[in-house]
């Protein structure tokens, strides 16, 4: 049997990658028989599976961007072809549902039906001759007719029929809603995308996940929801310590009942990270790294250090003691380039992830969409960063009105398959860049193209606004 996944029609570019990640996690193989970003219905077929129904249940149980998975009973371009397909695919199955209780439902995407016409559709399936009682609550089986309309048309372009196998894990979105979370901040990632990102990292019981830009802990919370043990750090200690009234990262874990999975947070800078690399007594540490680095707009993009010459040496207080040993000492921070930060994340991931371990990282893109009116310069200021030890698994894009952000997912390659010439060339380039002074000085705007464009309102400052360019026509 083939299976129909009923997706939600949102975050389309994330949907396939999420399902593929869940298949990898559960060691399932399947192929996409039909998928389109324009449709909430996709058809898949499992390969090498004795128990496809069990596979379907595992595949969907954690999915955030789908609603449910159904056993596909038929497809058609209209009702006559659908009915013919249903007969062809499932006639041999009807006897086994003869006496079970059931419920029949219509799920019309971009369309609707009056009660009478719903009834007419349902009755058109009466040839299956089920005799069981109809139950609206907890029926043995639920059958659904799916209709896919082009917007503002009255006839569906495609119709499907299916028997529901299992619901997705989408209820977690409500549970983790930021509105009900005890401790959040201005840049907390919303529950839905946090959970999707956690799915893409393959977070699961027994695994260790690290977030180097933890903030209020949205990502670690989402990973812990899926059973992974988590820890995190942030350059801004205030975000981890939280408020004096007890609202802090740990309280969030307590709220969701996952505090045993929280290994703790600490204050640190990724460019001077205390997390050890492999090569000592232990092996590489992390199963996954999940992060949303600061874009330098709402959260400053900074690292430890100072651009002032006087602070490159030990500073002594008037009583002769070094300033940095005083209780109230606050280490200085300097602006940093976003591109270099992304490279630092990748280099860190290459050294800390186990083979097959995943890095999921968000990055902003100005002016984004290709379909936009072309008003923006369409510039992508940051190319997708790459590392010889990391394979890009996929990119997903979330659109906003004037910018967008991308979620990049990487997989750590085994040492044996890494191209070592490329790796050593990469390391040489990187150390040259690190020692170069060109990017270590400068204002936040000089270092960060996205920030500059953001505050210019994503316009090319040399081009006047649209209405000023309109020709006079009389």
């Amino acid at each position: 049997m083939d299976y129909l996944i009923r997706f939600i029609q949102m975050h389309e570019s994330f949907r396939q990658l999420e399902i593929e990640a869940l298949a990898e996690l559960h060691q399932l193989q399947f192929e996409w028989l039909f998928y389109s970003n324009e449709s909430p219905f996709a058809i898949i077929r499992f390969i090498n599976t004795e128990d496809p129904e069990g596979a379907a249940k595992s595949l969907i149980s954690r999915s955030i961007l789908s609603l449910a998975i159904h056993e596909l009973w038929g497809i058609g371009t209209d009702y006559p072809t659908l009915h013919a397909d249903v007969r062809h695919r499932t006639q041999h199955l009807w006897p086994q549902y003869l006496h079970s209780t059931f419920r029949f439902e219509i799920d019309a995407f971009h369309g609707s039906h009056s009660q009478a016409s719903q009834r007419a559709i349902i009755e058109s399936f009466s040839y299956t001759a089920f005799q069981g009682a109809i139950r609206m609550h907890n029926p043995d089986n639920q059958f659904t007719v799916f209709e896919d309309y082009t917007l503002n048309t009255t006839v569906p372009k495609r119709v499907y029929h299916g028997r529901r196998v299992a619901e997705s894990g989408r209820k977690a979105v409500t549970k983790y809603s930021l509105k009900k979370r005890r401790y959040i901040a201005t840049t907390s990632m919303d529950a839905e995308l946090s959970l999707v990102t956690a799915n893409l990292t393959l977070a699961a019981p027994g695994k260790l996940v690290y977030d180097p830009f933890m903030g209020t802990g949205s990502f670690p919370l989402a990973c812990a929801h899926f059973g992974a043990s988590v820890f995190g750090s942030d350059l801004d200690g205030r975000s981890i310590r939280g408020k004096p009234d007890g609202r802090n990262v740990h309280a969030n874990f307590t709220q969701y009942g996952t505090s045993p999975l929280y290994l703790g947070g600490f204050v640190a800078d990724l460019t001077n990270t205390p997390v050890r690399a492999a090569g000592r007594g232990g092996g590489r540490l992390l199963d996954a790294i999940i992060c949303d680095p600061p874009y330098g707009v709402r959260e400053g993009l900074k690292v430890l250090g100072s651009t002032r010459a006087a602070l490159q040496e030990v500073v002594y207080l008037s009583d002769g003691t070094p300033a940095h040993l005083s209780q109230s000492y606050v280490p200085p921070k300097k602006p940093y380039s976003f591109v270099r930060m992304l490279d630092d994340v990748l280099a860190f991931a290459a050294g800390a992830l186990v083979d097959g371990g995943r890095l999921c990282m968000w990055m902003p893109v100005a002016g984004a969409t290709a379909e936009d009116e072309g008003e923006e310069e369409g510039g992508e200021e940051y190319a997708v960063p790459l590392h010889p030890a990391l394979e890009l698994v996929g990119e997903c894009t979330q659109q906003f009105s004037k910018w967008s952000r991308r979620l990049l997912t990487y997989r750590r390659l085994q040492d044996s398959v890494i191209d070592h010439d490329r790796l050593s060339a990469y390391q040489t380039t990187r150390s040259t860049a690190q020692n170069g002074t060109a990017e270590s000085k400068g204002t936040a705007d000089d270092l960060n193209d996205f920030r500059r464009k953001y505050f210019q309102g994503f316009r090319d400052p040399t081009i006047p606004r649209k209405h000023e360019r309109l020709p006079h026509t009389f």
């Binding site: 260790l208 200690g237 001077n272 997390v275 000592r280 690292v303 430890l304």
Partner: protein
């Protein structure tokens, strides 16, 4: 900060990382806390090969906690024949997951820099002349 997490951390200074003395960090004037929680045998099993066992053993000596054996236990020692967690696993759970540093200092064996821990949260920030 759980004692397990301590095993993941070294001195934050780039110049120290290459030296053997920068790991593990040494505990000085630390206050420990023990919070009971349900064991997570799968996680402990996965972490065992990634731990630096020598550092773990050194830490228990430094803190005056019950001694660990010289070699890390094998996977088989964590689970009894009946599938129940063994004493070895329970002891590891108590040590790695239930015991944490609430306050004190973590000191690098190479540069002697002290990283403060307050309310269970360590700070690895460095003054500008050290980065």
């Amino acid at each position: 900060m759980k004692l397990l997490t301590l095993n993941f951390l070294t001195c934050a200074r780039k110049t120290c990382k290459a030296t053997a003395a920068s790991f593990p960090l040494h505990c000085r004037e630390v206050e420990l806390e023990q919070v009971e929680m349900d064991p997570n045998p799968l996680f402990i099993k996965n972490m065992l090969p990634r731990l630096d066992w020598k550092a773990m053993k050194g830490l228990t000596q430094e803190l005056g906690l019950p001694q660990l054996p010289n070699e890390a236990p094998s996977e088989e020692e964590l689970q009894g024949a009946d599938g129940e967690p063994t004493q070895v696993l329970n002891d590891l759970h108590t040590l790695l997951m239930e015991t944490s540093v609430v306050s004190g200092k973590l000191v690098c064996g190479n540069c002697e820099y002290e990283y403060p821990v307050k309310d269970g949260i360590a700070s690895f920030l460095l003054p500008s002349h050290m980065v």
